[in-house]
Amino acid sequence: MSVSEIIDSLRKGRIPPLGLIPDNVLDFLARLTSWRGRRSELSTIERLLATMRHKEPDHVPCAPLVGGAYRQLTGASFREFSLDPNVAIEAGLLGLEVIGGDVLLLGLDLTVEASDFGQTTIYPENSTAHPDYANPLIKDYTDYRKLKRIELKSAPRMQKVVEMSRRALKEKGLSAVFVPVVSSPLSVLAMMRSAERVFKDCVLYPAEVMAAMETVTGVLIDYINALCDTGLVIIAPDMLFAAKSGLGKELWEKMEGPFGREIAEVIHRRNCLVAIHNCGDGPYFDSMVRFMEPEAISFACLPDDCKDRKELKKKYGDQTTFIGNVETPLLYRGSPQQVMEECKKVIDDLAEGGGFILAPGCEYPPNANLLNAIILVQAARIYG
């Protein structure tokens, strides 16, 4: 893709597919942007481009990772937010205006993929949606092989997220980067059987679980392709179980790692970037980098092989961009001053030389006061 084609795409209000731009051109643009950022304020796209090419922007970008919490701005219930994509996207776009930030999460809740497979889902008015665990779709290990592949056209909830992407890009094309979170194959199965049973099945019946993961991955790939078709440039696979609090490393690499690789390859083939989300305890950065080559990793806790953030920066800073890792309980209970101080610490540890986006470790607590989301955005401007 030539420079004139890039400019043409930007004129049309679209971020050009980054994978089509040669590395040397991206690096040149990032250097130029970084230089300009020392003198004037950058746009969101420029800021993200600079940091993801490991150059320092005007200030660190911020991804407040607000999902369901934005419904507070419109007075919508959790149920309305989950079931009506117009409610969700209107709340999100309003949040972008009111609270700011460089990244807007696109999604309804964590049950989207599983409910399209047929898992009964409960949508409370005052809390986040969850599967009806009393009525799991996969009742015993023999059901894994019975899981049927679904067509995207008959997957209403995934279609709703695709619709949200289209609308977000149409209305606010370049004002933020829109990022949908796609559950990992094992996370989808956990919604249809419970995490505990899936964990045990991975040891006792690995072939059955693998067969189901293959089915799920096929559907997730269709979903990712449909999301990429809308013009998105970053997709965030949620790899929760690639962590000490999930599967053991060896087991993850054997079971889900290959499917993670397949998913990442599809995203890269579509010239989009992979931004893994993993809010598990002790995430396996080494495995995720090896299997999925992510351009960014959003994380809550330190990886299993790093004792502090400085070691993390030294070990993985040149391999990926960090998104994180302000503690979510602090966002819930902390005063704005405490949040500001914590953001400063995170920025001090991770921002030097680029490759960093300030964010909560996980989704912004959906019922927390939104004031601390504003503080996150402000902290990135002030200390970043």
Partner: protein, 220 residues
């Protein structure tokens, strides 16, 4: 000679838990019965097996899935011993445990519940989505010395302060432990809990420390 043989059987009970081998555990418990090994010693061996694993939980040697399988095997062992243990129940510390209303996530609660059971507590597991009143009634009815509350969702977590306040009003000496992904130590303190366990690895030690604090009326 007998004590040597008994030790061998008890070791095999411990090993069966560690290797999550239910068949081996059943055989070992049968053998222990034949050798008239007291139930308390078999139980102790089950507990030793779990303790060994609990300290290594989340390490490459003891990943969570294997720990869960060992807990299942341990649970089966405890069930087999339960009838023999009925007489001991009056001496065990009663614990009421459950996940707060609206929250269906039971993985963490199940692990903690089984660790308590294996460690000599008398566990009353109320399950998931437990209404506030059910916790209060159960604490009263079972005269719980410990109430363990779990929540994995920040929205449902907000019931904890009310539960804690109401339990403390009727039973000030009941030790209230909280845990779950959206919580941290400071949040647990601000809710009025007596203790907080970040994970299963330290739950017993944290519970004991909280019991000592409450009994000595020390501020946390």
């Amino acid at each position: 000679m007998n004590s040597e043989k008994n030790k061998e059987v008890l070791n095999s009970v411990e090993k069966a838990v560690q290797e999550h081998n239910a068949d081996e555990l059943n055989k070992s418990i049968d053998q222990a019965g034949k050798q008239e090994i007291p139930t308390t010693e078999i139980r102790q061996a089950l507990f030793q097996g779990l303790e060994h694993l609990r300290k290594k939980l989340f390490t490459p040697e003891m990943p969570l899935p294997k720990f869960l399988l060992s807990l299942d095997v341990l649970h089966q062992g405890l069930k087999r011993l339960s009838s023999a243990e009925e007489s001991e129940k009056s001496r065990a510390i009663p614990v009421v445990i459950g996940v707060v209303e609206g929250d269906p996530h039971d993985l963490g609660k199940n692990i903690i519940s089984r660790i308590y059971a294996a460690s000599g507590y008398q566990v009353y597991d109320l399950g998931t989505r437990v209404p506030v009143d059910a916790f209060i009634n159960s604490v009263k009815e079972k005269q719980a010395k410990v109430l363990a509350l779990s929540s994995m969702i920040s929205t449902t977590m907000m019931q904890m302060p009310e539960i804690i306040k109401r339990v403390k009003a009727i039973s000030p000496d009941t030790v209230i432990m909280v845990g779950g992904a959206p919580l941290d130590l400071n949040l647990a303190k601000s809710f009025g809990a007596d203790g907080y366990a970040e994970s299963a690895v330290m739950v017993l030690e944290e519970t004991e420390a909280a019991m000592e604090r409450v009994s000595a009326k020390e501020k946390w």
